[in-house]
Symmetry: C3
């Protein structure tokens, strides 16, 4: 990883426009602010183009997708593509219902993501590999690297698969990351917020492989740092300290 | 109460589908995760049937009801009934406006709840007993046990009425619970999240009376435990510690 | 400032109806409860009139405005006006898109706010003064007092402009406040929640100038107090302690 990417992202203080899962809007906005970027969240299609155009990165998350949001997602995504703004797509729970599955297919036909980030069950679904899921959680097992490579090829994009070991695939290479902490799975939005941190790093001027590895490594280190605090005694106290840790310099987390 | 119900619920890690109040989605999802169940929240009617059918419990909460959500609630509720999935209804602020009152009446005509959980003002409204309310809060007084028994009979369901003393009525019997802490009334969603914990306990294989008493007692003990922590100095720090406490074994809370 | 206003507001425990930004509903509701007022949040137009009429104050915040909410805002605002209920308007990100700008213009043509609260960029936009903004943040500079006075005159209302130095303008006079802490800008909703605390103070029986100065001063002192706690090591831990501090007596914060 390249710690300078974190510093560069913070210096830029990028505006990240989210069409985001209702459950986690507050947590994600706080995490983005703590990290040193600026969140905006709006899902009204009437302003989707202006919001996307004014942003340094656009993130589309279907965690609580409604029919009304689909058009806003298409507009925001197309605007990002048109203006060469990085676009992150998070297909939350895509395997859970035909509605989500069809919507993601429809969105991916019309916009070109820079990165698709999801858990193994979500990315497997995108490449028609059978995988066990439970609601929005992935509980199956299989060859995750292969799935990442398949998805990267099929969608001509980079892939981040979160899990105990995270997989980053930029098409050329598959890289593993093992930073992180189980508490991240006990806090709602633990995966969603990573999409925003990835998005912030995409706004710097570096190779995408380095950007993704840096974002994912940093995020996991922040979780490890928070979990190691004496005051942390469960997922509730972890959450506060994790948001704190996202604001720290890399060297503090590295310890 | 029966502490084994808590362990059984955690072992099952039930998927609880929520059509939930926007104000508290984040807090409730975190509380459900901490407890050891899996939350899903989605209010789009297009996927209401699949989401409900895939779940171990369905919870309908009208705290920020919109017209669009009503049909999704009916579909999710009917699906739960059809597949014998426990259904919890939380009539938040039902007495506050005719819109809420009519909607709940309409919902209860079409779906059969396993449990209705609310404060005294809400349950009183469901059985046409005058009761003083303020917004979504109950500030009246009266015979709460009688109201619970009336509602249980009228709707052929079990009733949980939250308050300084909680009332549990399964039709056959009325039981009181006195665990809890005033901080729960200073945290938004303090009542809503109990609905989810009740729902998690309903997915075990035990008599409903034991399930309800266990859920309500455990929830109150978690609040007491959190409030007693040295670091807790108000409702903000309470919240983090309460989420922590929901993840603890019963014996830790009983302490 | 007049600390008795805080006590009077708490004694009244005013019901504050919010049509509120989705990102911050949970945080704002918790802050309002901690302070000692009662939040209600509902954006369905079917119940907008009853909700507003039952309330002691109405607050309209366009942070995540959707077309569906506009009519509810108009109804709630007109109801507040008709019944002489204080009305606070928070034009979040009004300069970011034509959709927001047109909506606020439309709302302000039909309802009369008691107070408009915003950052400098937002209030500057309302009086057609050029100002640099970034998403929903104000990053420009200029004569903020002049802007406040212009806006107070144009809309025949009181103005609160938040910033490193807050500006309060009641039409007759412009007052500065310097309490506060930078952490407030790193927590999403740090500005939004102030609108609710202002609203709570507006429900007491005091000159509006005193109400506004008291609300803004108290809010900043609560932030300073929280930031000074030994356990606070970043914006995440600050948040919990800030909510705690909002529940404290004035003398504790003044310390």
């Amino acid at each position: 990883m390249n710690p300078e990417i974190i510093e560069q992202a913070r210096e830029k203080n990028p505006l990240i426009h989210h069409i985001m899962n209702q459950v986690v809007k507050n947590f994600v906005a706080n995490g983005v602010l703590a990290f040193g970027a600026s969140p905006i969240m709006a899902s009204e299609k009437e302003e989707a183009e202006e919001m996307a155009q004014a942003s340094d990165c656009v993130l589309l998350n279907i965690g609580t997708l409604t029919k009304d949001e689909i058009e806003a997602m298409i507009i925001a995504g197309k605007t990002a593509n048109k203006h060469h703004i990085p676009l992150v797509i998070d297909p939350v729970g895509v395997a859970a219902t035909p509605f989500r599955s069809k919507t993601i297919k429809y969105v991916l036909e019309q916009v070109q993501p820079t990165v698709i980030k999801g858990n193994a069950g979500e990315i497997a679904h995108l490449v028609d590999v059978p995988w066990k899921v439970k609601g929005v959680d992935s509980i199956g097992s299989g060859n995750v690297e292969e799935i990442a490579a398949k998805a990267a090829k099929k969608y001509n994009t980079s892939i981040v698969i979160t899990g105990k070991t995270d997989i980053i695939c930029t098409g050329n290479r598959v890289i593993q990351n093992t930073t992180g902490h189980p508490f991240l799975t006990q806090v709602t939005g633990g995966g969603c917020l990573l999409g925003s941190i990835v998005g912030a790093c995409l706004t710097t001027d570096n190779p995408i492989e380095e950007q993704l590895v840096t974002a994912v490594t940093f995020y996991g280190l922040a979780a490890e740092h928070a979990a190691s605090q004496r005051d942390v005694k469960g997922p509730g106290t972890f959450l506060s300290h994790f948001v704190d840790a996202l604001s720290y310099p890399f060297v503090t987390l590295k310890g």
